[in-house]
Structures are given as C-alpha cells and as structure tokens.
Symmetry: D3
C-alpha cells in the first residue's frame, strides 16, 4: 500500500474507529490529550509525523535572540516535507503559544498538512487565516520563549501523553489527533476501513429500531446478516 493509497483510505475513517482497532491490537495510549481542532469543521487530515521538541524556558537561553539560532523553529520549518504533519511536544504548556501567524503562514506555503500540539498557539485568529489546520489546546498571547525553549526536530517526542516517533502516521479529526505506529499502519488501515463499514451498517440497524444487545458488538446471527447485506450490495 502506498502512502497515497493509505492516506486516501484513512481520510474515510474516524479517529474513534482507529482507536478501537489499535486497542484490539493492544495499544491503549494513541490519542493525544489536548489536541482539539482550533476551528470548527476542519477536514480530517492524514500525514506522516514531523516531530518538534521544546523544553522549559531558561532565561539565559530562551530569548528572542534564540529565534535566529540554527536550531530554531524557523530552521525546522524549512526542513518539513510537503504533506507532513508537524507534531509539537510543548509538554502541555498553556501559558505561551508554540507558534503564531508568521510561522503558520510559512508552513502553509510549504504544503504542511497540519499542526498538532499539546500546547497552544498565539494570535489564533491570524493563524487560522493562513489556512493551516491546527489541533491544539487553545490560545495564549505570549511568545514561546516566555516559557518554552526549542531544542530539535525529528526526535522521538511525547505529545498529549502519547509517544510519537518521526514518520509515524497521524490522523486528526473532530475528536483530536491519533498516532498509528508506522510499522503497523497498513494493517490497521485495512481493518479500520472494514470496521467503519460495519459500524455504518449497525447505525442503519439502530435506525430500524433494533436493540443493542446482540447488535453491537454483533453476535453470530447479526454478523451473518451483515455479511449477507454486504454481499447484496
């Protein structure tokens, strides 16, 4: 399965379904706390993770001058491939924005698919105006250096209580952002697509006033009925 095929398929699957599939494979910690859509009705996005990492600010290093350092958020942005999703480990900090409108505008220009962080953004209104979809935990006016110091990119990071490695698959929709480990992404996608179809059929059964026990999760009789209906299509 190519990335293009996988991403196309995943754009039709909810993060709710993905977490169910991942749980059945033994993964309970895949949904990133605090990654809410910044705007209503952002489309579901899918992409490979481009990770970024902050540590707590220390007044001797977290200065506006650090913005010009070769290890800056600016330099990181210029390394981002088109279609990636920037996953920013802000240690859940709420009192300073990881990014404002200028950096977001540059990311949008470079074709970055989305920004996902357990922190917050600043100048949120202008960030949205750049067209970059954002999942974060709200807004704050202060610049990142007020409490965060950037230390590097494409390292393993934590985001919203979840471990994320460079190039893992990220899916984000109205319920937040989920990571799919790269090694099992293709397999998870296939199961999830089928699970999504089954759940759609169950919803139509609920619509017909079928009670839940036996229907969801489906018992053998229900499953047989589903397979019949699927074949009939």
């Amino acid at each position: 399965m190519t990335d293009t095929q996988m991403f196309e398929a995943l754009r039709g699957v909810t993060t709710a379904t993905l977490t169910t599939v991942l749980l059945k494979k033994g993964l309970r910690k895949v949904w990133m706390t605090g990654t809410r859509p910044l705007a209503p009705n952002q489309p579901r996005v899918v992409g490979r993770a481009f990770t970024m990492r902050f540590i707590p600010a220390r007044e001797d290093v977290a200065t506006p001058a650090s913005w010009s350092s070769p290890r800056s958020t600016r330099a990181a942005i210029e390394e981002m491939p088109a279609g990636c999703i920037a996953v920013i480990d802000a240690m859940g900090a709420k009192e300073a924005g990881v990014y404002g409108d200028i950096l977001s505008a540059r990311m949008a220009k470079r074709g970055v698919a989305a920004l996902v962080t357990d922190g917050v953004v600043r100048d949120a209104k202008s960030v949205l105006a750049t067209g970059l979809p954002v999942w974060c935990d709200g807004a704050a006016a202060p610049p990142s250096v007020a409490s965060l110091h950037f230390v590097g990119w494409q390292e393993p990071v934590g985001c919203g209580g979840v471990g994320v490695f460079p190039d893992d698959i990220i899916v984000a929709d109205d319920d937040g952002a989920v990571v799919i480990p790269a090694a099992i992404a293709a397999e998870v996608t296939e199961i999830a697509v089928e699970q999504e179809r089954l759940e759609g059929w169950i919803m139509s059964e609920v619509d017909r006033d079928v009670p839940l026990p036996g229907l969801y999760p489906p018992n053998d009789e229900t499953r047989a009925r589903y397979e019949r209906d699927k074949a009939a299509k």
Copy 2:
C-alpha cells in the same frame, strides 16, 4: 405536582436560579463540574436521573468482549425509560469517550431526554447528528474500555463532584447540569418560578437605570414596588 407539571415549570427556569434557590435551602454542591453543552443552543432539558457508573479499566476485565456482558452499557440503555436523563459517572476521565454514535442513536430512539456526564464522548460529531442532547467535558477518540469499565446502573453515583441518586431531578442548560433532590423538587420548583419572575422584573429596573444597592437583592421598598407591579399585571 405531577412530573409533567414540574418539568414544564422547570423548563422556564435557569440553572442559575435553581442553584440560588438550592443554596438558600443549604445545598451548595448541586452543579456538576464539566457538564458543558456539547453543541451551542441545545434546549434546556428536564428529567429524572438514570444513573450509570464506571470504574477505572483493568486490562483483564475492560475489553471489547465486556461490551457483550449482561452488565454492559448496552443492557443499561435497554432499561432506560423514555424521558429520563442518563447521568454517567465517568470519574471525570477525559482520555476515553463514555459513548459514541451507535449508543447515542439507540438512546435517542428510546426517547431518552439527554446524556449528562463528567467525562467525554467519542465521535462527537456523529453523536450530535443522532439528535440526543449531550452535556459533557469534551470529546476523545478512544473507546470507554481504553480507560473505563462499566459496573452498573441506577446506583448512587458521583458526577462532576455532585452526589446523584436514581430518580433525582436533573435540569441542564447553557450553564451546565444541576441536580434537585427528589424529595424537595416540588417545593424548589415553586420557589424558583417566583424567583425567576422577580429577577426578570429586576432586569427591567436595571434597564431603567436603577442602581443595584437596594434593588438586588431587593430591600423592603423595592420589594413593595415589585409586588405592586406584579399585582398590576
């Protein structure tokens, strides 16, 4: 006072007024923290509590297989009477949704008036599409079993820091959900309706530029004026 009359009356009273009336009767802990309306402009709902209880998940019992157990959320839903409000004790858990769209759809089918929880829902967009009004603390993609295990219904529970007993009266509006102990519900309703009328009159006085001291709370002179205006109607 029948339930129908009481509920009709309560639909005209804000939860803000109800908490004031309950405070005057010595009850300070009646508003459930974290019970925000999931969608804007949900109508005020009133109903008797149908309680549900979760404990923390343990990997040996909180499995997808538990969804088929006779003590499952599915079984509970089939016990809910029309018009009730499901009050779910999720211990304030934010990292897994108590419910998704399929269970919500079934509740809507059964005429459940609303879902109130100190936890979150999953697949929030589809939950709203079922028409079930929801008060909760946000959304999360993972299924309940990722961190919660369902243990029973119609027991005393805690929800958002408030004790709720089966068949207490629940009222929810834009400010969140409030419990009225069943034993004092009729009396509280009567006082609240009158309080609401008084506050409406005070607002009209503020509109006439009357200063607050003496007006709110009303001193004897103000109260006499109010009684005159009320009689004049």
Copy 3:
C-alpha cells in the same frame, strides 16, 4: 500620550505583539491564564483596570445576605468609572459564577468596557445579551456565594497568575487578556505599534514565499529592505 490616544493605538495591536514587547522589557508574566473570550468575535478592548477581589467562601459570611453589605459587588459596580475594565480575582474558581446577568447589565449601563476574570460567569447566555464583553474561563450555574466571598475593590490582585494593580492598562482580544504596567504603558504602546507594522510586512514577505531564516526575526539585510519599503509608502 493621552489615554484616548493610547487606547486608540492599542486597539490596533494584538495581545500577541504586546506580550512580545513586554518580554523584551523583561516581563514574562503578563497574560492572564483562563481569560478566554466568552463569545466569538468580541472586539479588542482596552481600558484601565478596576480590580475586585474574592476570597474562599466561609458559610458564616458568604451568604445571600452579604449581597446587601456596603462591601458588596453591587457597591463596587457603582464605583466603576465609564471605560474601565473590571478585573476580578476569583482565584481561578470554576464552580461558581462571579457574576450573572443583572450585575452585568448594570455594568453595561455604566459604560464599563469589559469584564475580565480568571473565574467563570453564570447565566452566561443572558450575560452576553447585556452587551458587556466578557473574558473568563467558562460558565457555572451557582452564585458566587456558593464558593466565593467578595472582600474589596481597587486593591492589588492576582488574576490568572498575573499581578494586577488598580489603573494598570488591560488589553483583551481573541488570545485573552494582558496587563501593561501603568508606568511603562506609553513606551510599550509606541514600540508595539511599530512591531505590528513590521510583522505585517513580514507576513507579506512570507506570502511572496521568502523563507523564514533571516526574515523572522529580520537580519540586517531584511531590516534594511523593510525600512526601504516603509519609507516608500
């Protein structure tokens, strides 16, 4: 610079820009956590702080009767000058509203520019209907006396983790509320207006696909280019 001139200028500057300017002057704690706009699209407001202070409720003093005390929120409101911004230290309490619609209506009548608090409001829908812009941390039904006791006004207070003194300058927009110490307000305003212009120009450069390193923050070459463009206007 008169207050009128300063406020006019500040209405054109984001709180994001202000916090950057204040950080460069050594102030990192100026943005008040929890001060989110209650409604979308509230205009940016600017005004001098009128501070109010609550302590935790104690059942012997925090009673509805206390609402008639000479040291009440009602009395405080009658002291507010037109154009001020009420800054309420609610110690971040989320379980009781500092204000409801009647007090908000009176403040609107008196020409108060906005209400800013690290707590919450009650009867939020009716508060908004009064036309008073509000920055707060959500809504709760219970009255303030359920957990808060009002003790005075125009004292130094803490709001959202920030120290605020009477008559400091407050600016609030979509990212929340920021304090500018009165003593440096004029100087900060001048720098911020210029910073805002520079950032607008940088955004137009990003639009032209200029990469970030060297552009933001601007190196000498960029800065020269900016000065040329500015002069050319």
Copy 4:
C-alpha cells in the same frame, strides 16, 4: 472566656474534633489544604490570626529591591503581636518559599506562635532550627520574589481554600490548621471540650470490644451510660 482560657482549652482539643463541631454549626470550609506540619511532633498551637497576602510576581515589582519597601514582609513582621499565628496567603504556590530562616528567626524572637501557609518555605532545615513551628506545603529553594509579590497584612485572605479574617482563632496540629471564626470561638470551644471527653470515653468502650452501631454516634442508651460514667468520676 479570656483568650488565655480559650487557648488553654483548645490546646486539649484535636483539629479533628473542632471540624466536627464547626460542621454541626454549618461550617464545612475551615480546614486549610496544604497546611502540613513541617516537622514531626510539633506541639498543637493556638493563637489569633495575623494575615499576610501575596499576589503573583510581576518582574517590574517583585524584585529583591522590594524587600526594603515599607510594605514588605519585614515591616509586617515588626507589627506582629506576641502569641499571634501568621497566616500567609501564598495562593498555594509551590515553586518559591514565602520565608527563609532569617525572617523565621525574627518571628521567633518576637514571640510569634507559629507560621501557617498554603505555600512553602525555603531553607527549611534552618527555618526549623529557629524554633518557629511551621505548617506549610513543603519546601522550595527560590526566594518569594521568584513568583510572589507581597501586598499587605491584616486583610481578609484565602489560605488553603479557606477564608481567614484578621484575629480569627487558628488551631494547628498533626492534621493541619483550622480556623474558628472569632465571633463563635468561645461557644465552639465549650462544645469541643465536651465532644473530646465523649470521644475519649467511646474509645475506651471500643477497647472493651463494644461494636460501633449504637456506640458511635451514641444512641440514647449509650449516651445515658456515658453520662453515668461521667458523673461517677
């Protein structure tokens, strides 16, 4: 009852008993969260509250220079009467100590009975060496100005979620610190002394293997037995 008599009586009563008595009078919020004894085996202390108030530090005012201001913690200490208990509202801050050894030594010199705060102290070992008993929420190395700014004394304050007014009665023991409103202190003391005697008798009954139901709380038969035993002494 003189202060001396009251304090003598209260030194024989646990804070556990006092909170039970206060609860029966309708006061549930009297125990200050975070006020743990800094050292094991500190004696129970009783005294009138001398309140002190901090707000969040702002870099322009919370400086080492502020230590010399007439409104400083130093000036406050010189106002403390012998036998008082300093109650410090530190807003629960854990990242900077309200006091270190020098200020504690001066308080000990002046005969202050104890220091109670919802914050922490610095140089904790040396503070203890001064002999001043301390109830607080731990230790931190940084000076108060790193995150706190002192604004005044003998004002109403909040400490550990409890409202405290100047000259209220404070009692602190191994379970933490409790406030008794000045107006009801004599009455509470009398009831508490009798309650303490009753509970001592109940403990001796438990020792004799009497089951709890009917014993604690005592039913009529038990209470009669207690009265007999008390009279017999």
Copy 5:
C-alpha cells in the same frame, strides 16, 4: 494453593516485583496512586479486598445523622472478616478524612489487616496509635461528611485509578498498594517468588561489579549462570 500459603509467599515479594509480573501478563493499571504508608516501617501486608465506596457529599444526605444509618461505615466495619484489607474509594478526596481513630480502633479489634484508600485519614496520630496499618494520601482534620457520603460495601470500586473487585488480593508495602485479580493470584504468586529470587541473585552480581547489559535483564549466558548457582545451593 490456600490463602494462607499464598499470603505467606506474597509477604516475601515486593510490590515492585508484583507489578513487573502483572505487566508481563498485560496488566499495567494495578498500583493505586496515593496509597502511601502513613507511618514509616509498616510491615508488608497481604489480604483479600473488602471494598467500600463514597460519593461526593450532598448537604441533604451527608450529615452526622447519616452515621447511624444501616448503610453506614459503622455497619460496614461490623461485616469485615478478620484478615481482610479495607479498600476505600474516596475518589482521591484530600479535604476530609475517610476515617478517624474510633473507627480504626474498631477495625483493629476485628482483626482487619490494613486500611488502603486513595483519600486521607483524620486524627492521623491517634489512628496510628490503634495499631492498624494504613496506606493513604495524607491527613485532613474534617470528618468524611464534610465532603464524602458513604453508599455501600463489597461493590466494584475505583481506588487510586485502579479497578478493585471484592476479594481481589491486595499487597501493600513501602511503595504503596497493588491489586492482584483473584483469578490469577496463585499463578502470579508463583512467578513472583521466582522473579524475586532471580533479582536477589542479580543484586549480588552487581555487588561483584558486573555491568548491567546482559545481566539485567539476563541474557542466555547470565541465565545459565543463575541456574547453576541456584542448583548449587
């Protein structure tokens, strides 16, 4: 394996070892947050869980009068079998003690092995004097009714983020309290005893200055050496 044999064996195994064994069987949530030993040097205790459940207090039901109800903590204590460990779901409440000295004394009399709670106790010093070993999250003076209402015993509960069912095996030592699901307790005990022996041997190797890689966890060579040493004993 009888309970007596199992408990004897488990008294020789640390909770650290038990959590490692349980993790290898897929159980990550078995250690109860907040269950610290109340006194230093309490012996390791083992017993079957006797569960108790609190919900948030509501002023109309959580009254001193409720202490005489047939569904009271007093009644529950009289049901406790000798050797059990009381596991109290206090929802992590820190502002009121679940128990004081009288109830603890009665439990000690009845031969209860220990008290484990995610809440706190009151009159902590006297509780310890009863000889009952306690694992909890500290002390608070107020009685349970100040914020908790007791609703029942021997139900499934949550304690410190862990699901506990009646008659599960509880082990508590200096690191806190751990639950072993009843169904797998015998098997876990056997593996844990062997694991403990292995780790003791590894410690003696570290003492001989053997580096960690290959030693811990042991590779094949190390494991063979261990088996030889074990056989040689």
Copy 6:
C-alpha cells in the same frame, strides 16, 4: 576555578542562596519542582548533569524487551562518569518508577554522585540501601515501561519545569535540586559564597534582637557594620 574547587565551595552553599544569586542574574526558573530528598539528612551533593530522557510509553515499544535495547537505561548507566549527577526527565510521571534497586546499585558502584528526577523511584527502600542519594517525587511500584519509554541520554531535557543541558552544574539539598548554567557557574559560585557569609552574619544580628528593616536586606549602615565585622575576623 577547577570543578573540584567549585564543587567544594558549592557544598557550603544552600540551594536557597543559589536561587537568590541566580534570580539577581535574571534566572527565575532554576529549581526543579518535585525533586525532594528521598531520605532525611542526605548530604548536599554537587556535580555535572548527565541527562536522561523518557517519553510516554507506547505498548508496541515500551516492553520489558526494550530493557535489552542498545538505547536502554542500562546502556546509559555504563556511560556515566564518576561524580556526575543523573538528571532524569520523567515528565513528572508519578505512576511508574524510573529506577529500582538494581540500576541504583550499579550507579552507586560507578561512583555516580546522585539521582535527580521529577518522577519517582520504585522499591524505594532498597534503592536507599544502595547508598545512592536520590531526589525525586516519591515512590511507585510499577516498572518504568508501565508508562515511560527511554529514548536517550546527554540531550537537553526538562526536569521539574526547568531546562537542563548536559554538563550544567547541579546542586541538591533539603530544599531540592537547582541547576546552574555551566557558562556562569564559576561567577555564581563566588557571589554565592559571599552571600552565604553575609546571611550568616545577619542571622547573628537577628539573634541580638536587631529588627529586620534596614538589616535584611542590609542598608548602607548595616553593610558598613558587616564589612567592619568581616575585616575584624
């Protein structure tokens, strides 16, 4: 100044004094929250930071098998130079221990000066028995893999809200652990030694009953007196 000289000098200076000196140089965030001494009366330790970094566990990578990986905590320990202080970024996690007794024993063997973490340790009693001084936020039974995954060493990390870089100077005593940026360590040491001497003299003045205003901080007269006394020694 050699490391040996600097460390010798710093062993005579409290972390309280160091944070005051660092604050005067503009550094407010240098004390690591949660780094409490695991045992009473641990000596003050000084050394260069050897950093270690964890991210949240993900079930596919955080397994007992990972303990044998070349990028494991075991491998890191074998890289530690004698005299260093291991600074472990555990993201403040309280539900799993970063280390147990075996790893601690190996560190003690290698001459590591101390372990500092914002997380917790497991098998705390046995850890202490190895002789390794530990500063941490308590104890928990579960192994690190239950919620943490180790990703590397000698990278910039966050610990207790403070940014720490490899080879920074760490000082830890009863008040917790403090970082001194390597670049300014010599200068800070010199100022701190003198500050410590001054504060000792001030304590002796307090002992002589000198009031605080003018004494602490010292005014010109006091400072002259101090210089005279110092010269006289």
